[in-house]
């Protein structure tokens, strides 16, 4: 269909294309480092070393100690392990959990499930731009609050949450022991914003490899030294007994390469990408004047993003084009070689609407027509100009059907 044109991939918040060096490393590890890290012979030792090096790399990137890193299969498992694992260890201390209404389903579904086990859950509502307020957290804290979980960057609208401020508040809350555990889902933050797990003051931090150019099927959980945690998967006792199962050596090695690349390029990349995002918003409004931006307009201060100053991550922007269903816009852009996501999947039989946009109080027309654009290191100004031009054309075309 039509002439050959370059693909423009603008769905990095869903998953990012693996960096060539990552692909190389995964392939190399599959070919050469195929041993089982638990095996006694040299092949096993080589694999164990590869995992150890990866652990060191990830630890260095987030300011943690090696033994504070648990490798998992990805963000979902890390979130499950953080919440369920910690509450299995500490649930007796209290029955109250606080999280936000804009978390990823792998947090929200777990706390919903925990509700069935007798926990009380408070969901903090966001502002109109998707940011939660630490004052609300303060008000929600109860004497029996055992766990607070807050994402660092919202995956749908890019809102940066005040996780550093929240950690400080929790640290002051009950200085004499019994402080609630603090979990941060940093799946969208790693490699996008400077993130120092230790300095952040969180007890548990979730990471995912494939959001920053790493392979799928790998992720990590930072577990602050001394944090009680019980495993979800029992077996051979890998990962300090917190995550049994033969390590996914190639994916872990690939993740380390991605994390290291991101760490080295981070300062430059955040600056460039913040500028790109400004350009994106301007260009989209140029192409579709009646567009709406969901989430914060300005980027967060990249030197100290989580201190409660608000703002957006530099790689995510969410727009609505009322009258043009998001799913149709996605397919029309796809036909032009441009890949983005909906904020809400819409269909005639079943509506799966974005819980994030609904929690932000957006009108239905905006929720149903939301599109998420998420940038990557290879995104150029020309890509954004082309997106804006095509969007203008496509939204007009769709509205001619929807005018009826």
């Amino acid at each position: 269909m039509g002439a050959q044109r370059p693909e423009i991939y603008l769905d990095h918040a869903a998953t990012s294309p693996p960096h060539p060096e990552v692909v190389h490393e995964v392939l190399r590890a599959m070919r050469e480092t195929y041993g089982n890290p638990s095996s006694l012979h040299r092949k096993g030792l080589e694999a164990e070393r590869a995992v150890g090096r990866a652990r060191e790399t990830l630890a260095a990137a987030i300011g943690a100690r090696r033994e504070e890193i648990v490798f998992t299969s990805g963000g979902t498992e890390s979130n499950n392990l953080a919440l369920r694992g910690a509450l299995r260890a500490l649930g007796h201390r209290g029955r109250h959990i606080i999280t936000t209404a804009v978390e990823h389903p792998s947090v929200l579904e777990v706390v919903r499930d925990l509700e069935g086990d007798g926990f009380r859950v408070t969901l903090l509502a966001p502002d109109r731009d998707g940011t939660v307020r630490v004052e609300d957290l303060g008000r929600a804290l109860a004497p029996d609050t055992v766990m607070v979980s807050m994402m660092a960057v919202n995956n749908e609208v890019g809102a940066v949450q005040p996780v550093a401020q929240a950690a400080a508040l929790l640290g002051r809350a009950r200085p004499t022991g019994g402080r609630p555990l603090f979990h941060v889902d940093a799946s969208q933050a790693l490699g996008r914003l400077p993130l120092d797990a230790a300095a952040l003051g969180a007890d548990l931090v979730t990471f995912s490899a494939h959001k920053l150019g790493g392979p799928k099927g790998a992720g990590g959980l930072f577990v602050r030294h001394g944090t009680g945690l019980r495993p979800l998967l029992l077996g051979g006792g890998q990962e300090g007994g917190l995550r049994s199962g033969t390590e996914n050596v190639p994916a872990i090695a690939g993740m380390a390469v991605a994390v290291d690349l991101a760490r080295r390029e981070l300062p430059e990349r955040t600056a460039v990408m913040s500028e790109l995002r400004r350009h994106l918003i301007e260009a989209v409004f140029g192409g579709v004047p009646e567009a709406r931006l969901n989430g914060p307009a300005a980027c967060a201060d990249t030197s100290d993003p989580f201190a409660g100053q608000g703002g957006a991550a530099p790689h995510i922007a969410c727009f609505s084009f009322p009258g043009a269903p998001g799913e149709v816009v996605v397919h029309c852009l796809e036909e032009e070689g441009i890949y983005v996501s909906t904020g809400a999947a819409c269909s005639s039989r079943k509506r799966r609407r974005s819980h994030v946009l609904e929690a932000m109080g957006l009108p239905d027309a905006d929720v149903d027509s939301a599109i998420r654009v998420s940038l990557g290191p290879e995104t150029s100004d020309a890509d954004i100009d082309r997106l804006a031009e095509v969007l203008g054309r496509v939204v007009r075309d769709i509205r001619r059907f929807a005018r009826r």
Binding site: V328, C346, S347, S348, R349, D397, I398, F401
Partner: protein
């Protein structure tokens, strides 16, 4: 020698007089198609007057039954023991059949049974009634827990004496009935992603129609997953057509755009359906189909009033079969569940956001108004282009045999 076979009884084929040989040949081929994915290929199938028997050597009866219960023309299957036509051998076969059937009853409990014989080979010395009595007495002596009950038996041991040998069985399975696919000519099914059209396809397969399907899609205004859904439906229908089905995917976006831009809004649906029928007619000619099959049922939605259907039908000279016309929605859904298409049809990707459905579609479109509306469309050119862009897939459903 005792052999395990599955006796296949078929219904209407037997009634077809001079065409019988043709029907039986097609039926045999359909059974072989349905069994072709078994390890080692289709098993040996013996064909004698009015009967087929499938050899079960090295096979589980269940895996053969599952497949043959999806072959139209099968009225009943019976898990049988085949022996020489000899009284002692027949008794032996009847005992084996009875033992299997008894295993389903609580041990020790009294079980009511009867023997029912048919003597097709008149050379056999005993007639049916005599055979019933003799075998009944012998079985009664061999199994003390039995009690004869001619009216309401729990186990019915059937014995047949035929030219090629004798059969005894006590376990039967109903088949789908109908006529073997391919004995009634060829049709083209308009397959949407909905619940109705796959059922309409199934019903026309049941009447012996060989079927190909066409699905119209409007990517990017509908999801690409809608096409996946059509392919999945075709794979499931394929199970009832011998394993494979040809699906044509027709891109209709350019047509939809043209209709939107050039025709009055309230006639959009009528014109679109007429164009679908015209395209289907062209495709039917290309593949040698003599009829179109649709899932329309009277009065279900605005476009299915008599007036609407009349105007739409006039777009083609071909016979349009509407097998669902006599069915209620609940009956259609029930059948869709049985066929295995309901779950697929219920996936949410169809007609995203109903972009193409106007707020007030005409329920009684006037033919002159439709003619005027269509005159504004470069219809021939659009249809020709669509036909050229049709993608054809041969889909295999045999992985789904369960």
């Amino acid at each position: 020698m005792t052999r395990r076979v599955l006796v296949v009884k078929f219904g209407e084929i037997g009634l077809k007089g001079a065409n019988r040989r043709f029907f039986e040949r097609v039926f045999l081929q359909r059974m072989k198609d349905a069994l072709s994915d078994l390890p080692g290929g289709p098993p040996w199938i013996e064909h004698t007057r009015g009967r087929f028997a499938v050899g079960l050597e090295g096979l589980r009866e269940e895996e053969v039954v599952t497949r043959l219960r999806r072959v139209f023309g099968v009225v009943e299957l019976a898990g049988a023991f085949k022996v020489e036509a000899d009284l002692d051998a027949l008794e032996q076969a009847a005992r084996l059949a009875l033992e299997e059937a008894l295993a389903a009853h609580p041990p020790g409990a009294t079980v009511r049974f009867r023997v029912e014989s048919r003597r097709a080979d008149k050379r056999f010395p005993l007639n049916s009634l005599e055979l019933d009595r003799v075998l009944g007495a012998r079985l009664l002596a061999a199994f003390p827990r039995l009690k004869v009950d001619l009216g309401r038996p729990e186990i019915r041991v059937e014995v047949e004496v035929r030219d090629e040998g004798g059969y005894a069985y006590a376990r039967t399975y109903p088949g789908p009935g109908g006529l073997p696919v391919g004995t009634s000519g060829k049709g083209l099914l308009l397959l949407s992603g909905g619940i109705d059209s796959p059922v309409a396809g199934w019903m026309s397969l049941k009447r012996g129609l060989e079927l190909e399907a066409v699905h119209f899609h409007s990517f990017p205004f509908t999801s690409e997953r809608a096409q996946e859904k059509a392919m999945d439906l075709a794979r499931t229908l394929a199970l009832w057509a011998g394993g494979q089905m040809v699906l044509h995917l027709a891109p209709f976006t350019a047509m939809q755009r043209a209709i939107r831009d050039l025709c009055p809004e309230e006639l959009g649906v009528t014109v679109m359906r007429r164009m679908m029928l015209r395209l289907s007619g062209l495709l039917a000619r290309r593949i040698g189909a003599q009829a179109l099959v649709t899932g329309e049922s009277l009065g279900q939605v605005a476009s299915q009033t008599l007036q609407s259907m009349t105007v739409i039908s006039q777009a083609t000279d071909l016979l349009v079969l509407r097998p669902l016309v006599g069915m209620d929605k609940t009956e259609i859904i029930e059948l869709a569940r049985k066929i295995g298409t309901f779950e697929i049809s219920s996936r949410p990707y169809e007609d995203c956001c109903s972009l193409f459905v106007p707020r007030h579609p005409a329920t009684r479109p006037r033919p002159e108004a439709v003619t005027r509306a269509e005159a504004r469309l470069p219809a021939d050119q659009l249809l020709e282009q669509t036909l050229a862009d049709v993608q054809t897939h041969r889909l295999d459903g045999r992985l789904r045999h369960r």
